[in-house]
């Protein structure tokens, strides 16, 4: 029920400003973007899709920031592991 899937906006339907075609992993579906009327998505932007409606835009910079944080943790972890290994060899 909380099923929300990221999809990329391809195009708006010609006579229907509320409807956009999105792509989810090569699968296309028309969804309603009326809930984003205050700041409509452009083709190429990503949205969160839930039961045929776009609920929110996916902020790419925030996604990148989140991933960077995770990378950072991953690197720190890898560094620590490496340090552990080295100290063992002694």
């Amino acid at each position: 029920m909380c099923l929300g899937i990221p999809g990329e906006v391809i195009e708006f339907l010609p006579d229907q400003p509320d409807l956009a075609r999105v792509d989810v992993s090569g699968v296309k579906r028309v969804i309603n973007v009326g809930l984003l009327a205050d700041d409509p998505p452009e083709p190429g932007e990503w949205v969160l899709i839930h039961v045929g409606f776009a609920l929110s835009k996916i902020d790419e910079s925030e996604a990148a920031a989140a991933l960077e944080f995770l990378e950072g943790i991953g690197q720190a972890y890898a560094d620590e592991l490496a340090a552990l290994q080295e100290s063992r060899i002694e």
Partner: protein, 396 residues
């Protein structure tokens, strides 16, 4: 809402065995109370053991009416087959409940199978009901180790069904039969009134001869065996879902319907280490893995990121909230192979056009018996149980 309260009624048909389960729980709790206090993990294990026992009990049909679940290929189907059909017809040839029955006839080993095709829509990207009717039956014979030879074809046609459509279907069937090297040698035709049979239903039966010295069967799986799938899963089921047009989803996915007898012959010729072959249709790969685990009383451990799934199938499945492991294929097999022969088997499959993307997805282990475990792409582990319900009706 008004404030009236109805009498406490558990759904009537469930009364008896709920009380039974409660009694069991009470006895169990009383016994546990008299013992020294057990820690939570032990208590959880006791519950798991009790559940395991409940699952192994003789299947009983609890419904009064047939529901779509009974046709989904999952738990309800299995219960229906075991409690109704196996129970009524019981004999040694039926008991194994494999894709074909193996019959000794005048010195030859003959495989016999039957299937009905009720797919909706009749025509879809990648094929039609005619293709399914031939390939499905050919495959059921081939996975038993038989060389498919002859098919019967019974048609149930709806009054008003266009003759041109029937012609298309029959032309497909002949083309499929020729590609598979089989012949349709007998058949039947019935017509029912408008409103029944949804256009066209087809039933086929097939016979073949088991020429190899192999005795295939899921009950022979052993710890150390490899589990192989012959290609990307879920193509057919997702194609049908999208072809129904109800979901407004467009994708470039086509059904994977194909006759696998050529590929299987290559496989069986390349190695004697094949323990079992199964055609992954309704209920998908997950259903077969569970059948192996139950029949051989072993654990099947598969790794999520080794299972081939096309990107679009994954995308469509995520959109629909279904799991590709439960989605029907119509031209994919699952093979259980002696671990030492796994690479040979894989090479044989990959050498055939239908098996280009074959992959080893897991192995058989001893514990925990009867359970299918999935190592997620994320590194955790979870169970893959039999399908409950019917997410994708009338798939084949």
């Amino acid at each position: 809402m008004t404030g009236r309260t109805a009498p406490d009624t558990s759904p009537g048909r469930r009364g008896g065995w709920v009380d039974e389960a409660l009694r069991e729980h009470e006895e169990h709790t009383r016994a546990a109370m008299s013992r020294p206090k057990t820690a939570a993990p032990e208590r959880e294990q006791q519950v798991l053991d009790r559940i395991d026992k409940a699952r192994r009990r003789r299947p009983k049909i609890r419904e009064e009416r047939i529901t779509m679940s009974h046709g989904a290929g999952g738990k309800a189907t299995r219960t229906l087959v075991e409690a109704m059909f196996l129970d009524a017809f019981r004999n040694p040839l039926l008991e194994p409940l494999e894709d074909s029955a193996q019959i000794h006839l005048n010195g030859s080993r003959v495989a016999l199978t039957t299937d009905s095709y009720v797919v909706s829509p009749l025509f879809f990207p990648g094929g039609d009901i005619g293709d399914l009717a031939v390939n499905g039956t050919v495959n059921d014979l081939a996975v038993s180790g038989a060389t498919p030879l002859y098919l019967s074809a019974g048609f149930i046609l709806e009054e008003g069904f266009p003759v041109a459509d029937l012609n298309r279907i029959v032309t497909s069937m002949q083309a499929a039969a020729m590609a598979a090297g089989v012949q349709v040698v007998t058949g039947d035709t019935k017509v029912v009134q408008r409103g029944k049979a949804d256009g066209c239903y087809i039933n086929t039966a097939g016979i073949g001869v088991v020429e190899h010295d192999v005795s295939l069967g899921v009950a022979t799986a052993q710890p150390g065996d490899a589990v192989i799938v012959s290609g990307p899963i879920g193509d057919h089921g997702v194609t049908i879902m999208l072809a129904r047009g109800e979901l407004d989803i467009e994708a470039d996915i086509v059904s994977d319907t194909a006759p696998m007898n050529g590929m299987i012959a290559d496989l069986l010729g390349a190695t004697t280490g094949v323990r079992a072959l199964r055609d992954a249709t309704r209920g998908g790969v997950a259903t077969i893995l569970n059948e192996v685990a139950t029949a051989a009383n072993v654990s099947v451990v598969v790794t999520e990121d080794k299972i081939p799934v096309r990107t679009e199938v994954r995308g469509a499945s995520e959109l629909l909230g279904i799991d590709p492991m439960y989605v029907a294929c119509e031209g994919r097999l699952v093979a259980v192979v002696d671990g030492a022969e796994a690479d040979k088997a894989l090479a044989a499959l990959r050498a055939h056009p239908l098996g280009e993307q074959a992959a080893i997805i897991g192995h058989i282990a001893e514990e925990p018996p009867g359970i299918v475990l999935l190592k997620t792409a994320f590194g955790g582990t979870r169970i893959v149980d039999l399908l409950v319900g019917d997410p994708l009706p009338r798939i084949c």
